[in-house]
């Protein structure tokens, strides 16, 4: 009967190792871990003329530090993009005139929201709105404007 006890133990260890492995994959490899610690936090909104390639779960950062993520993107009545951002509750000292702009990480990287702190004494709270925003730069639009301007310049000569 000694033998079956060893087998029991080894099978138990095997199943436990599987559960630990799954936990590791869920928390450490995939994004499930960030759901858990992001439950506390407050939501601020910002309206952009164009939110470009911003996606839900894109990072929100200030001075290069990730302080939250995008929780929702929708369209308002005036055809502007409403972006809801969930900011971690430990960063509760953002001035109320903070401005938001959409940047691209590197030339081909993903887009993120960068917050630039203002100078007011009161802070952003849950459900407050960021008024000063700068839209994403769309490469085709920028190129189009540049070419249009260039051809207009050439016509004047």
């Amino acid at each position: 009967m000694q033998h079956t006890h060893t087998q029991d133990t080894l099978v138990g260890l095997f199943v436990a190792a599987g559960i630990v492995g799954l936990f590791f994959l869920a928390m450490h490899v995939s994004n499930l871990g960030s759901f858990v610690d992001n439950d506390d936090g407050y939501v601020v909104t910002a309206r952009f003329q164009n939110s470009g390639g911003l996606k839900i779960k894109s990072p929100v950062s200030m001075a290069g530090v990730k302080i939250g993520q995008i929780s929702d993107i929708s369209l308002d009545k005036n055809h502007r993009s409403i972006v809801k951002m969930k900011i971690k509750s430990e960063y509760n000292n953002l001035p109320s005139d903070t401005s938001a702009s959409i940047f691209t990480a590197g030339l081909l990287g993903e887009q993120y929201v960068n917050l630039e702190p203002g100078g007011m004494d009161d802070f952003l709270k849950d459900k407050s709105e960021i008024d000063i925003t700068q839209s994403a730069i769309i490469l085709e639009q920028a190129l189009g404007q540049f070419l249009f301007k260039k051809s207009a310049d050439d016509a004047h000569k």
Binding site: Q7, F14, G18, H28, V29
Partner: protein, 259 residues
Amino acid sequence: MLQLFQHLGHQTLSSFRKLGRGSYFLVNTLRGFPNILIRPRLLVNQMYSVGVLSFLIITISGLFVGMVLSLQGYYTLSDFGAEASLGVMVATALVRELGPVVTALLFAGRAGSALTAEVGLMKATEQLSGMEMMAVDPIQRIIAPRYLAGIISMPILAILFSSIGVLGGHLVGVGMLNVDDGAYWAQMQSKLDFRDDIINGMIKSLVFGCVVTWIALFEGYDAIPTSEGVSRATTRTVVNSAFAILGLDFILTAMMFGD
């Protein structure tokens, strides 16, 4: 000419007959599952020989596959200055494809062939007929616990393979090649989705577990009861499992990751 058609017809009919026997066998096996609840001892014994004994080959293969992926990925990614994406590349490849597929192939070689040989020899030495004489259903007593053990073990082994592989990739990428530790994990966490990547990988390995164990047990049960017949059945198990795994993998990938 007539002989050619006769041969073709014979082949077609016999393969259909085999498919029919296989399906009937599968249904009987599934019907034997409630019986396992009465004797969980049988399941634990089989989990040991199918799962625990495959543990070592799976983890060592996982470690080396992860390390090689990391090494090869680094050489290509560093050309584009994208070493920071090494973690994403290693983890995606492992969790979505290599984890389930390589585990299933190794499982077919390690556990599947052993199951076929065991059941085939039981048949050749008339142990199965002996059981029937004692009014013990060999499918309930022998086959069903082995089948359930295979189905449970395969996803566990695939999870272990992927986890160890990610750690192996970390070992080489961060330890040897000086990729940033934070970038390795952070990019991985932001790009991999639990539902889309990890659960889908587990579903794949569950399907492979059902198919590989089914093939292995049926080939053993259906083997010609001679030593040559058992050896042929063992070969067929490994070859047919490999075909089934790779074919199913394509179909499952097309269904899961197409958006």
